[in-house]
Symmetry: C2
Subunit: 233 residues, 2 copies
DNA sequence: CAGTGGTCTAGACCACAAG
DNA sequence: TTGTGGTCTAGACCACTGG
């Protein structure tokens, strides 16, 4: 067997993954503790810890103090999605980027936005609607609410040179947020802005962000027909 | 300032995040190197490393040898999605789970499946279609192709007691996979299986998995109307 | 070439939780 | 109570890469 010394955590990770995939260690089974593995592999316990922690973060191992480390029975696979700035996503594909503002005005948010953002009173909100274009074609429509109490300076932003999203990324850091992915039948106005057929199935992202419990912004992005969000497992 | 000693990596992480959020360290700016921060915080360099690595994995820092560590300019936010076994997702919501097989037969895959799975020859494929039910209502429709060369034993599986997905999770570990999220107008047959209106917008996941370059399975999941996939940022 | 992050080590103590 | 993972330390060497 592996009497050779596994002297780095990537090698340890590979060996452990191999034992899991080959069913030498079966789902649900308790694997040896870190000290024993360190001895077997001829490396420090910290190295084993690094490898096992990486695997556990990926969902293939369950680790508990005192109870030990087990091979996950129903591995909950984790997929990490990159949520880029739209302009960069478009330019990364060698397309030209542009965007257009449809409407930008201060008004009362509807109840669902009020609830989603967990607003307390009736903070003044900026309602900002725009479309991002790739090679001149509609790419994604954005319907955004911005809490002016949190970022009053946004009223001075020049949305001819920078999108609301990029202004916020650069000027309003957030500490936490929610994101949801769904499918929507774009209503007539959204469909028109995207150049889609009315009622066509469109991919949507709803994202709300806070800075230490102060709501910053909530945005609904509706993508052009055929859009896919991809990643690896 | 923080003349107190930050003696664990979570505290260091919090302090660094605070400096980023407060703009004490601005986007694009080079931050002190690990040794200097270790000295300032009164902890070991390894502790600083652990904290900075965690932040970098989340996209808020860019680290390069020799070049040092910079605050990310356009933080590419990463969202980690948990992809559970359908049964567990349903049962976690305290609903009853069931599923029904519509069709299961060996046949030639269409060209797009052949390409997606990167098949070489004309491996025999099992085409398996089913629906998962939550409290008796359609939850998600599954259209799956399985490479019988990779998992011949699946022909002996009893799909009355276990779904194809769960059989594969338990018996055919994979080393890597692709996953894509999209919106689809379910065709008439899918819509019917899901009890959805024809043409209604539905959330879909396409997932293909391999075991060391041997394709295992490719599945399209189409969820019931209104389904959302959520996570935090 | 030289500065930075990446990693390994040996040992130590701690925190949690199973029995 | 006690075994296990979680973490910290001080020091060392390595690997990458900018200048």
């Amino acid at each position: 067997m592996s009497s050779v010394s596994l002297s780095n955590w990537k090698a340890v990770e590979a060996e452990v993954l191999s034992r899991i995939h080959s069913r030498q260690w079966e789902p649900g089974q308790l694997i040896p503790n870190e000290s024993d593995l360190a001895e077997e592999f001829g490396c420090a316990r910290a190295t084993v810890n690094r490898a096992l922690r990486a695997i556990a973060e990926n969902g293939l191992l369950d680790r508990k103090r005192k109870a030990g480390t087990r091979v996950a029975t129903n591995p909950v696979r984790r997929a990490t999605l990159n949520i880029p700035v739209i302009r960069e996503e478009i330019e990364a594909g060698n397309h030209s980027y542009a965007y257009a503002v449809f409407s930008s005005k201060i008004e009362e948010p509807p109840l669902n936005i009020h609830a989603t953002m967990r607003l307390n009173g009736d903070e003044p909100m900026l309602h900002h609607q725009s479309v991002h274009l790739s090679d001149g074609k509609p790419y994604v429509a954005s319907d955004r609410w911005i809490n002016l109490d949190a970022v009053p300076d946004i009223l001075n932003a020049d949305f001819k040179s920078i999108s609301a999203n990029e202004w916020l990324v650069a000027n309003a850091p957030f500490t936490n947020g929610d994101i949801a992915f769904s499918a929507t039948s774009g209503d007539a106005s959204i469909a028109e802005r995207l150049g889609a057929k009315s009622g066509e199935a469109l991919f949507a992202i709803d994202r709300t962000t806070w800075n230490n419990d102060i709501a910053i912004t909530s945005v609904k992005l509706v993508f052009h027909s055929g859009y896919q969000m991809r990643t690896v497992l």
